[in-house]
Every structure is written in C-alpha cells, then in structure tokens.
Symmetry: C3
Subunit: 668 residues, 3 copies
C-alpha cells in the first residue's frame, strides 16, 4: 500500500501546524521555511471542526484544500487529525448530550477542549458525519498520508445519562444476571445488593469508598467506549482513504484508559513527548521519558511516531517551564528516535498568539523571528535527514521486558495499598535501574506473548488469573527469569481478594508464600544479603516463608529481622525471583546486573549518571545511540571503538559528550 511506502521511507522530522490560526497570506512563507528547514511531515486539523463545518451540515473545505495543495507543492506530507476532540458551539448547543457530566452532576462546559462524552449518541452521529466528509474529501489528496483519530484520549469518568444506560447494558452483557453481578462485585457488603438493573449506574458523588469491583468495571466500560468510539472513525477512514495510515497520539503516562486496546486497530502508535526542561528534573526526567518512549513502542510492539515534541517552554493555565537548554531539543528528539520513533513532529511551528495555549511555545516565537531554538531544530532536521535512510527499517530488539497492566494500574488506583506505593512509579524504578545499566527492555502489555524474552520483570500483578499465571509459569519453565514483587496475585479479575496464601496463583512458581505483611509506607527498612551487605527498602514488607525457594535477602530489622525478604526459586529451566519489598535502586541494579550476566543479556555497565544508550538494529547493521541527557559534559567508556555516524571517524573507546551531547555509532 501507498501508506506503507511512505511510512517506511526513513526517519523524518515534522511540525504541528494550524493553518486556521494564521492569516492565509502567511501560509506559503511558513511552508517555504519548513521546506528549507528539512521538515517532511506536518500534522493539522485536529481542532478545526468549527472551520470545517461552521454550521450543521455546511462544510467549508476550501481553506484546507488550499493549505494541502501548498504542502503538496513543497512535497511535505500531511497527517490530518479528526476534529472530534472539540465539537463546535453550534453542535453542543444543538445536542447538549455531547457534554460529559462529572460525578458531582456538573457539566463539562464547552469553551476549552475535550468536552465530549465518548459514549454520546450525538457525538457519534455528528462526529462520524464530519469524519466521513473529511475522509471522502481529503482521503485521496496526494499530500495526505495518514490520519490521527481525535486527540489525546483520556478517561473522563462521565456520569451522563447515556453513560448510565451504557454502563448498565455493559454490565448486563458481562454478567447476564443481577445475581452474578451481586456475587462478582460482592455487593452484600454494606447491603449494596442490586435488586433492579436500573440501580446500576456510574459512581455518582464520586466517593472513593465505593465497591472496588464495581469501580474497576466502570473503568473497563470506559475503556471499551473509547475503543468503540475510535473504531467507528477508523472504519470510516479505512473505507475512504485506503492508502493512508491511522494513528492516535497518546500522552502523559500513565493514562487510565487501556492503551493496548486502543492500539489494536492503529497502524502505529504516536506519543506527545514533553520532557521536563527543569534542571531539577535532570536526575529523573530523562529516565521517566525513556520509559514513556518504551511504553509507546510497546503499544504496538513496533516503531512509533512522536506527534508532538517539546519545542520551547510549555505553559498556559499553569506557569511556564524553563526554556529548553541548548542541545535539549536535539538530544530529546534523538532520544525518541533511539527508542523507536521513526518520525518526530515538533509542537508547534509557531507559538499561538490567541487562545489558551499562547504560552505553550513553538519552535518560532510569537514575533515570528526564528531564534536559537529554531536554529537548533533546523540543524537537527539536517542531521536527521542525513541519517534518515541509514536508520530506515531499524528497530529495537530486547531480551528483557517489563509487564505493564492497565488492570493493575486501575485497581491499585482504586485501592492505594500503602503510603508511597504507586504502581507506575514503581515501574519507573525498575525501568530506571535497567536503563542505568544499559539494559534495553520492552514494556509490554501483560497479556502479550513472552516468547522473545529471557527476563521478565512483573511488578505487582495484583489481579491475576489462571491463564496469565500459566503463561508466566511456562515462561520460567522454559528457561526464563521472572521477577515478581509484593502485591502479586492478591485478587481475582473482578477485584476480590483470593482465599489463598499470597502470591496466590503465583505462589507455585515463586516457591514461597507470604506469611504476613507489614505495610511500612514511608518508613525505611533494611534488607541484608548473605555477605551482610545492607540495602534500604520501602513501602511494603512481605514476611516470606520459602517453600522450595532460596533466600536471597533477609530483613535487617523489626520483628521479622532475619526472615526472608527476597527469594529465588528454580522453576523448570528458569528461575523466579520474589521481591517481598521495594528495595532501593542500588540493589535493583545489582540484581539486574547479576541476572543479565547470567542470561547473557547485553548491557553497558558503568554508564555515568545522565547517559542513556540504546541500539537500533537493521537487517545488517546496528546503531548504538549514546545520549548525554544532562547539562554537564560526560565521558562514556565503550566496549569497543565504533565509527560515528555523526562525526565520521571512530572516537575511540572513551567517548566525550558535551552537555546534551549525542553520538550514533555503527556497531557492525
């Protein structure tokens, strides 16, 4: 297909552009400058409904045709967003049922964005209509290569009458009878038993004390509604725009919606990437960003796009951030590519002069005089375009993966276990320890196949079922190393505790059970290894009773001093670690280092703080990305001397990186 040809045509740079925000006389000079700068992609249209359909059924596509023609003239491809994130005022006036309703009964008023309930019939009717007209009209335009559905989906927790009805039907489809609902939700507690279907609805009032099984299903209903909403648009576009790809721009992880379900129908995933510009975030921000990129790559388990990349200080309804330091824009664009982005679209060409996002700065400031940031961006475009074809078709291949699960995220949000424990923050800790060791890892849905991997890190698989427990057992049996943690196997899939010793269905492969636990929260405890070395741990202490497993660490204090805190169990050809507590980074790094050595997983030990490495591998060559993501210069010692794609000659075993310095080395 056409779109595949385009999509496969190498790594490229783009910008977000809003022709409707600017006098049309500015368009061509903007596009000329884009062309000169080396921009090859533009995204537009995702908020333009009021311009495309200024009143019901009246379409004005000329202006966009004119803009598309200009982009085509300069050979810049265009991704069109469907504009359903911002229903125009005539529509919310005509069909107020489009507006979401909050738990307190108040309405999400128009005037901002995202003021649409995904489940609203009216939204689906009018949204489908504008999408269909756009797909018909623009679907064959030679400039248009693809589509973005809506913009930055998010959980709304809508309580509108439509959601009330929709959720009720969803529950009935899932459970069939009220008897089953009452049993699976455990509504007998506090006399919450439903005696009539009409009693089921969204959690009006928003109390966090609601039944957790019910709240989890309410989240699942919403996940399904977003998927359904997207599906309708995808069907329409596929029908009218056959050669074009479809994506969606995810943002700000963790998102409460199920990105894996949403990802299923997309050609590839996209991400809006705003790495934190504050010097205070140097120590954690780039690692958190690395995780975001790995999460995005994991959605489709393939390369992805950045649909919005930071270009200047963000700021709007909140105070502005620091301006990106010299080199920041380049380094973080390369970070995205290094972790699987094939296209990086910067947000935005020029800062808006009107509206709420005036200070979400673009590459060019309001004055329209290109400055330092633009110059850095232009140099970056040149660099990327030079390497574009070399990097074409390369991708990341890892032996390690972290399992991520929206089921856990949501159920642990509903019932926070202990002060200081956060499912996603803990994943960040595991991921950062791996990243600091230069161990590449994927972050994948817990439902995915584990076949490719040698090492699986599976933090807090709090909900569990026999199928996944079986998959994890098979993974270990066949030689994999599996790392489990506290708060695993606690519940069945409908969010009720299991009447089994923890980690429940995983106790067999862990070879250990939890006798008791102490939710220590912010208190700092110690774990001790067999040589007497101590490490700090936090959040939770499972008091373990090995049942075949070996003891790796013991507690160093409290009434369970000397009792196992971490065990490892030989299971089939593999082994299963159980971490009964949340140890400090130094210990995690020593564990991962040991495991990686044993499993012969590639790593780059000794990386200085702030430096990240990844490898993109193609049919016959691999490229090592070495990124210094901090404001200080760094030296990296490499395993051997590789030629640099950016600087030509090999730079030896010792690589000197300037602040935010980048190098890309050809490994073979």
């Amino acid at each position: 297909m056409d779109k595949k040809r385009k999509f496969a045509s190498g790594v490229k740079m783009g910008v977000d552009y809003y022709p409707e925000h600017w006098d049309s006389e500015l368009w061509e000079q903007d596009i000329q400058l884009m062309k000169i700068t080396g921009i090859r992609v533009v995204r537009m249209g995702e908020f333009a409904w009021s311009r495309l359909e200024p009143s019901s059924g009246v379409y004005e596509f000329d202006w966009l045709d004119q803009a598309l023609d200009l982009f085509h003239k300069y050979d810049i491809e265009v991704v069109l967003g469907t504009p359903t994130n911002t229903p125009p005022r005539w529509l919310t006036d005509l069909r107020p049922d489009i507006l979401p309703v909050f738990a307190d009964g108040s309405v999400y008023h128009p005037g901002v964005r995202g003021h649409r309930c995904y489940s609203s019939d009216s939204l689906n009717i009018y949204g489908s209509r504008i999408v269909e007209r756009m797909a018909e009209h623009f679907g064959k335009h030679p400039a248009v290569t693809g589509w973005q559905i809506d913009n930055e989906f998010g959980m709304i927790d809508c309580h509108c009458p439509g959601c009330s009805r929709g959720f009720r039907e969803w529950v009935e489809r899932k459970y069939g009878t009220l008897e089953a609902v009452n049993r699976e939700w455990g509504t007998v507690v506090w006399s919450g038993e439903y005696s009539d279907w009409c009693q089921i609805g969204p959690p009006h009032g928003g109390s966090p004390h609601q039944n957790p099984s019910y709240l989890l299903d309410y989240a699942r209903y919403q996940w399904d509604e977003v998927v359904k909403f997207q599906h309708t648009q995808i069907e329409i576009i596929r029908k009218h725009a056959r050669g074009q790809f479809i994506t969606h721009n995810f943002h700000s992880y963790p998102q409460r919606l199920d990105q894996y379900q949403i990802g299923k129908e997309l050609d590839f995933a996209a991400f809006d990437y705003y790495p934190n510009t504050s010097p205070d975030k140097q120590a954690t921000g780039p690692y958190s960003g690395a995780l975001s990129l790995d999460v995005t790559r994991g959605i489709k388990r393939r390369n992805f796009w950045i649909m919005e990349q930071l270009s200047g200080p963000p700021g709007c309804w909140f105070p502005m951030w620091r301006t990106p330091y010299p080199g920041f824009i380049r380094a973080f664009a390369w970070q995205a590519i290094a972790r699987g982005a094939d296209t990086v679209v910067h947000f935005r060409w020029r800062s808006a002069v009107a509206g709420a996002e005036q200070f979400w700065h673009g590459l060019i400031d309001h004055s329209n005089i290109p400055g330092r940031k633009f110059e850095e961006f232009a140099a970056l475009c040149a660099e990327v375009n030079t390497l574009s074809r070399k990097l074409r078709g390369t991708e990341l291949r890892h032996d390690a993966a972290i399992l991520f699960s929206h089921e856990q995220l949501e159920s642990l949000r509903i019932q926070p276990q202990v002060e200081g424990m956060d499912y996603y923050e803990n994943i960040k800790d595991y991921h950062r320890a791996l990243t600091k060791l230069g161990i590449g890892c994927d972050v994948i849905d817990w439902n995915e196949s584990l076949d490719r991997y040698k090492l699986i890190v599976a933090p807090s698989l709090y909900l569990m079922n026999e199928e996944i427990a079986g998959k994890l057992e098979r993974f270990a049996t066949e030689g994999g190393t599996l790392i489990l943690t506290s708060r695993s196997g606690v519940k069945h899939m409908n969010n009720q505790c299991v009447m089994m010793p923890l980690p429940g269905l995983l106790a067999k492969c862990a070879g250990a059970v939890v006798q008791e636990y102490d939710p220590i929260g912010g208190d700092v405890h110690e774990i001790v290894d067999n040589e007497g070395r101590t490490f700090a741990c936090r959040q939770w202490c499972d008091i373990l009773s090995p049942n075949g497993a070996d003891i790796v660490m013991r507690y160093g204090g409290d009434f369970y001093a000397g009792i196992p805190a971490v065990t490892v169990n030989a299971f089939g050809q593999g082994q299963v670690y159980y971490l009964g507590t949340h140890p400090e980074e130094a210990w995690l790094m020593s564990l991962f280092s040991e495991v990686a050595s044993k499993l012969k997983i590639t790593m780059f030990p000794g990386l200085p703080e702030g430096v990240q490495v990844t490898v993109r591998t193609g049919r016959d060559r691999s490229f090592l990305f070495v990124l210094n993501l901090c404001r200080e210069a760094r030296k990296v010692t490499l395993p051997s001397a590789y030629p640099s794609l950016l600087y030509g000659e090999s730079r030896g075993l010792e690589l000197e990186l300037e602040p935010y310095g980048v190098d890309i080395l050809e490994m073979r």
Copy 2:
C-alpha cells in the same frame, strides 16, 4: 433481668463476624475455631438489611436463624446490630428522601454506607419496620443477649427538605417567636433578621461565615434528631426483647454529636477502638487511646464494651497502616480492660475478600490460614478467660475528672479561637499529663454531678450558664480543687459574648479577671514561677488582674512580662486555679503532681515513657494494671511488691516489662 446476668458474667472476648459474607459451609468451621480460641461473644447483622429484607416487606431470616443456632450450639452469645446504617437499594430507590443532602445541594448517593438522614420519615418508617421484625423474630433467640443500634452514629449536617422543616420546627419549639430567634441569634448583624419562619433552614452553601448562634442551634437540632432516631429503635427492642441489653458503638473521638444524650437510653456504651500501629505514634497514640477509653467510660459513668478492636492493619480507601507489632494486640486489649472494658470484640474474624473494606484486616487473613496475629489473639483469649471471673464487678474509682462538653466542642469548632488551639487536643494534653503521673481520672459530661471528685479540670468552658457556674462554685466551696483555663465564660448558651470581664460567670470563683488577651497561636512564649523557673506556653495569653487570687506564674516576655499568667484563688474550703495560657506538659505535670499530693490523690510518679497504670477495684480487691505500650522494654518501680495475676509470684518492687508487656497485680 437475664441480660444483667449475662452482662455481669465477667470479662470476655469476642469477634465481629459477617455470616452473610461467607459461604454458609464455612460457618461451622469458623465457629468451632472461635470456640476453641475462647471467644464468647460475636456481633453481627448491622449491615445485613439487604439480606434480611431483600425487597420491601419480604423477610428472609432463615439464614440468620441458622447462624444463630450454630452460635448457640457452641455457646457463644450474639449481639445483633440493627441494620439502619445501610438502607438497601430497593429502599433508596423507592424512597430517595432517605438520602442525606449536603450543604452544596448534592446528594449522599447510595453505594457506600451511612447514606441515611436520621430525620427522614421514610427511614424511620422502614427502619422501624425491619427493627421490629428483627426484634420480634430474634428477640427471644437464646443466643442473642443484646443489641447494637445502627452503627457508629455521626453528624451528617444534612440539608434535605425534611431537615429544613424539622430544624424550623425545632427552632420554633425552642424560641416560640421570630423576635426571640432574632434576639437570641443576634441576626441584626448584617441584616440577617428573619421575617418569616420559612426563611429558617439548614446552612445551605456551607459558608463558615454564618451566624455562630444559628450554627450551634443547627448542631443541637442534629443532636436531638439522632437521639430521637435511636429512641424509636430502643422502644421497639425493649418491647420485644426484654431480657436483652442495648448499646451503641461510638467511634473516633471527638464526635460532634452529643454522646451523653445518646448514652442516656443505653444499658452501656461501646467503643470501636483502633489504636494507631505506627511506631511514629508511640509517644502520643497510647495516651490518646487512654483518653478515648476514659471518654467512653464517662458516657454512662460505668464499664463499657469495645465493639470493634483493631486486629490487623486497617486500610481501604486510604493506604494501609503498619501491621500491629508482636504484643500490640494483647497490650491494647488489656488497655481497654484496664480502663473499664468488660468485653473486647475484635474486628473482625477474617478479612473481607469483597467490598470496600477488604484491607481493613481481621484476625485471620484472606487466605483463611491463621497466622501470627491470630496466635497472639488466641493466647490473649486464654489469658482473659483465666482472669475473667476475678475481674468481674471491678471498676475504676477516681478522685479526679476532666469535664468534657459537646457545647464547647461545637462552638469552638464554629469559631476557632486561634491557630493551634483545638478543644479536644487541649483535653488530650491535660489528660496525658495526668496519665503520665499515674493519676486516674474520669472524663465526664460538664452537666454531671461533681460530688465524687477532689479535683476537676475544666478546659475552656467557653459557653457558660449560671447553673453550671454555681455548681463549680459549690464544688470549690466544699473543698474541691478546680482548674479553669483561658476561653472560659466567654459566651452565654446561645453563643453570644457576655458583656462581663472574663472569665464571665466564673470570675468570682477564679478571683481574677482578664484585662486583655493576646492570641499568640503558634508563637512560643514563656511563663515564670516565683523561683524563676521558666516553662513554654502557647496558643493564648490572658493578661490577668488578680482580684483576691494568688499569682502562680507570670509571663516572661512580650509587653506583659511580669504580669500574672496563672493564678490560684482560695474559694471556700477549696481552691480555683485559672490558667491564662496553655503551658507545656512539664508544667502541667508539676501542677497536677502538687495538687494530687495536697489532695492525697493516688498517683504513680516516675512512670517511664510509654507505661500506663490503672486500678480496677472490686468489692474486696483491687487490681493494678501495668501496661508497656511501646516497642521498647521498660522498668517500672512500684510502691510495693504485689503478686501478679498473670505470672503468679510477686515480681518485686521493680517490674521489668518486655515490649508491649503487660502485668496485672493484685493490690489487696
């Protein structure tokens, strides 16, 4: 009466159990284990309305009969809760006026618990009906010894139409005319005068700037409504279940409702006791707990029950607490008994696997495998059962009392006087100072007779009337020592300031007046005694002018340096202290120590931090409870060597207590 026999039958242990939460096949094995463990009481039923009356007028009592029969078979007595805390969904569907309405007009939706306005006619109709059926049906069951009304009453500040009407009628009954209302509430301020009864209603909008006289009466209306709501149920139960006692489980002091009015119709009070398990709370938690127990004993001025006692880490919609340290469960159960509990019911037998309270841990974890906590509990049951008959009929007899007043609590909540001043926290300070000296004290309603006491501590009697002022004067005249503090006598009973020098009606007995005051809040000032020793003080500085009283302490700084801060007045046979500021604990302890010596009040000076002592006295013997309520071992020096009920032989003058160690000594 039968119930009296049961109630007097010695100290005993129980658990909270929810047969409706578990497969009925589990029941008998649970009850067998209870029996083996030494459990003699079970509470149940207080949330079971939807199972007892699954639809309007359809009663299903068989399951509970079956459970009661089983308990009877194993000779375990049962306390039944009336289930009105959780109206079932069919009822809130049928009669939505049951649901409380918040100040902002939003409804307290069903789905959690406590979703019932005490004043709702529908609640009273349907609630009375189920209570009557239960009383008829279960009132003669041989296992049932008593009833708990509803569960954990609390102030709801309901703004429903029923409360609007009810409050209006209450105001009319109290004042008769609008003229009187306007005068007594002082509504002329800000033109708030009522010209029509219909203008009176709950404080819609919830502004804290409302008229304080009005807000206090709105609280009093609610107090009366809870009492009325309870009274209806009590009448029904007394009619059908003559031999059975009636109680209510209070919780989480201070409660804004008037526990003394609620207590009036009960046979005894009960309390839900969750001592804080965090090591950070060691220094204050057990003292705060001691106060809670003394408050509970003061409700009826007699021994009481613990209806829910901590069994494991609580946690639900909030993060879990620490697990109870070894010995914690035992020590705090003994603390409850030491302060007047005759029965201690642990919450709960087994942790719930479903619903919002899954992580409010019971004695047995979800796995249903009894562990450390259960073992400690079982040993405790054995211990209690051994001593049960010895302790029968013993009670606490004290020479000192602290006056507690819901009038002050509420009016000082409505108008916080100064940063850092909290009525109940101040009571904690006075109570802790007494407790650390081993001075037993009662905490009683300020309306009670003071005849039994030598020492009365009366913090901030902010509202005052002539009757109580007269009672306090008589107490002092007849030889008592009365301790008054700043913010006394400020207002009349309708929450208007008096046009008198402070402490208003108490100025005569204080022998001093307040010339001016400085609300110092968090600033730390100094007071100095006649020997030049200085102590810190906080919150408030009354600048005193003695009028017959002697000067005890003077201020050490600010423009009132040298001016009296604390005075003592010889009044009749007794003396009246006036504390114009809130001194640090060291000073309070020196004051109480001096007063106790003078009045020959028993004390145990020199107790180490964390150790509490109390005495339960019977017809011919007294038992000294010595409790180490911390994680470290402690040594206590006793006035003489007593034999130990727990360890037999006398352990000498020096008692060594392990962490959370307990001893009970026979004094004569």
Copy 3:
C-alpha cells in the same frame, strides 16, 4: 459647598458604630465617651437594611433619627453607609434573583453578607428605593456629612441568568458582530467559534483553561457593572443630599475590580486598613501597608479617608490574630495620615457580642470596660486633634510614581507567567525598595497623565496599546526616567500576543529587544554589573539584544552568561531602563538610589529597617513624618535638625524612636 468645608476641616479621628447592635440605652453613654475621647466622626448604617426597611416598603427611620440626633447633640459628624451589601431576608425571599450564582451553578445563599449580584434588576430596584428614601430622609440631617456607597466592593464572578444576558449585551456593544468577537478573542483555537449570540455567557464551570481574551472581557464586564451599580446610588444621593460627600471603602489590595473607574465619581476614596499584628510580619507588613495607602491615595490622586482601621485582634471564621502591641494602634494611624489620610475611622467602637464578627475586636472589648487599647486610642485622638489644623490642607507631592493597571493584574491572573511571579507582589518589591530609601512615590493608574513626575516605574505592562506606548515615549523624550520590566508589551488590549519582538510597542524606547526568555521561576540566577558585583535575580530571564541601549547588568550564569539582563537607553532628553529579570532588593535600591541622585529626587538614605518617612506639604510648610513601625527601638539620622510637632524642641540630627515610636517634624 458645605461638604467641602467639613471635608477641609483638618485631620480627624472617628469610629465605626452600629447603634442597631446595642440596646438604645447604651447609645448616649457611648457617644459621651466618644466625645470625651476626641472622636469627631462616626460611620454607621451600612448593614442596617433589615432595620431600616423591615418589610417591603415599610420604613423605620426613627431609631436612626434618634441616634443621629444624639450624635448631633455631641457635635460628632456621621457618615451613612448605603445598606445594599446585605439585602434583608424578606427581599431575597421575594426576589431570589438578587443572589449571585457561582461558576459551579451553586447559589450564594443569604446568611452572611455580600449576597447580591451587582447586575440584578431586583437589587437595583429595591436598592435604589431604600437609598432614595434614606437620602431624602437623612440627606438634610445636620449630623450627616457624607455617604459611603455599599461596603467593600469585590469581584463576585457571578454566573446568574442576569449576568449571562448582561455580559452578552456588553460583548455585543463592544464588538458589534460575532465575526469581530471571534477574531478578537481568537476563538478559532480549539473550535470555540461562536455562531450565535446566545452561546456567549459567563465561564460556567470555572475552568482556568478558558480563552484568556474572553476571560479578560468577562472581568471588564464586571468592572463596568460595579461602576454602574454605584453610579445609580450616587445619582440618587447627589439629588437629595447636595452638601454631602460620597465615598466608598476599598479593601485588601489588590482587588480585581477596577478601583480607578469606581473612584471617578467619588469625592474621595476610603480604605479599610488592617495592618498585620504578627511579629513575623514586621519586616514586610508595614511596607505592604505603605503601598496600600499609596494605592488608595492614587485612586483619586488626592487625600483620602481610612474608613476602618484596626483596633484589636481580628478573627471570626478564621483564627484570631495577635493583639496590637503597645504603640501599634497609634503608629499605624499616623502611618495612614503620613501617607494622605485626612480622617482615620477605627473599626470599631466596641466588639460585637453577636454575629459572625464577634472576634473582630473593637477599641473596647465585649466587657465594655475600656482597657489598654482604648487608652492608647484616646491618647492618639488627643494628639491628632492637637495637630489637626496644622496638617489641614497638606498633601504628598512626589517626583516618582509606580504605574498600576487592573488590566495587567487581571490578565496576569488569567495566565500566570511563571512560578513565583505575581504582578502585585512585584509592585510591592519596587515600592518597598523606594520606601526603604525614603523616596516618596505615588501609585497611579497607568492611564493617568505622567506630567508631574521625573521617574516612572512601570512593572510588567503586559497588555499595551499605541496610546500608552506613545505617552511613555513622550515622558522619556521630555526628560523622564522610565523603568520597564520583563513581560511588557506582550499583548494587545484584547489579550492576544503581538507578532513583534518584545517588549513590542515599547521596544523602540527601550532600545533593546528580547531574543528569547527563560522562565526560571523559583530558581535563583545571578546578574553582574560592569565592576563584577553580583546580585540575585528570580522569576524570569529575558535574553536581551541591545539596539542602541547600554548594558547595565549581564547574566552571571546559564547558557546566557554574559548576555545583557538590564539595559538603559538614552531616549530624547530622558532614559529608559529595561529590567529583563526580577532582581533582589539590594540591586533595586542601588538602581533607585542612583536614579534619584541623578534626577535630584528627595530621598532619606540610611533609614534603619522598619522606619518609614514621608512628607506632607502645605501652602507654606512641610511636615516630615518619621515612623518606627517595629517592636524594637530605632535611631534615625536626619539631614538637619527640625522642631518636633509632638515633642516641641528640635531633637537634633539623631532621632531616637521607641518601639512603634512616631515623630512629626516641621521642615520649614
């Protein structure tokens, strides 16, 4: 006119008094004591609607006549407040459209005060009626010299249907067509284009993400409505009470409404002054207070009244403040006079015994026994009365002014630029630096003429138009020194960014442009002068490119080290500073000191911390006020020895001031 004679009759003292709060038998003894104390003015009536019109159309003026007669008997003048701040209950009952509606749709319920939408037709009908009756009846009373309109106007952000309609009409009047609205608000962003007038209304829901142009116009609409509301009352009073002045009591700056528009129709402005009594606020409170007084003087650019001055600890729905230290009441009354107050009315005669303001203490405590505070006040009255005629007609004449703009205040509130930057707090910083140098300055509306001044400090003129830019240019051209700062010239008047290099329309006179900026927020950076001295700076760093201007300071770090941070441009006869960052006080003081020297602006260098000086100048004499506004004694070195109005003889060059000590010196 009569009122002018009264108004010009010298500096005087007053109290706020509420006859309706007290038994009428107390009135005459209160007034006698006022007379003895030296009180010459009383304000009353502003909350008395329910007493003046107890039911619709029924007027009871006798009681107020009686009170006025008594005041007249003792020759005390009376200012009457119109009572529209507190519509009585019969009126809100009859016409509930009077009640404001919040963004969330909830109603501002009666029961407190200020429960009235300025735009409500009903308020205007019933409010005008009571004001007309009062003006007719009391307008000729010999005791009444003037009127206060309503009480402490404030922005309500009302969302009632009346405001919805009113705002819509306002927008239509301003813009004429929806096309113009959409263009000027930039609604195309996020498809927010209006297609029908009925879509325009207040920002329901209250999201801060709304369009900033729209939000600014919504604020302007409210400004106009308050002015209109006031205008109606002023017209009525002017008609019936010709010889009497009209004022309004502003409070708590910054107020979001446009005080300059409100001030236009007043005879003079008044202010409610509550200097903070906490010792922790000694270092900043008196400077913040000085600014409040200068702001008040700037409203009409003439002397003013204090209508409420602190008399004791405030406290009501919030915890009480510290009591005023000895000398505090006197010192801050003199501070008000020193900065242009001609009358100081203390709030209040006696503390209220009823209602929500019971603990907003007056001069006399609830006991009605005058104490220390009253004695200090009485001595102050005597002192003021002694000097009253000498000070008559004197005023403050300054060479420096700070420009204040409600447009900037509101637009910077809508879009906070960076953490730690607050428009009014920054003005405080500039004002405090001037005050510490003893440089008197005015604070005036940015629309005012600048003719009188040599130095204009113009912080963050974020919105700008050609007219004001031209005025500033002329000011500099003609020899003035203009100080501009970062975030100037960013936007046009409808709150859209300009497509020009910053500072936009001010770039020409600044002689420099902003190449880029770094919103550093709370990070502390350095600026360095040509001698290498360094100073701290915060909030924002404009990276400047001089375009004719000289470099004053350069950045000391980050990637813009060495780049200009502050420039000065010779412009015509004058010069224009541009401060690209917010420097610390020491630097501001050195700048102002240098500029003042150059421009020969009077200053008093070397003032100790806590001491403030100002000069009031009359036809032939000037009076130097020297105020020690702290709890420690201070020594001030004066330029020459002046005779003291308070202590007679000259006290030499070195003036010793006790804590809160005051002196007033005759300069020539």
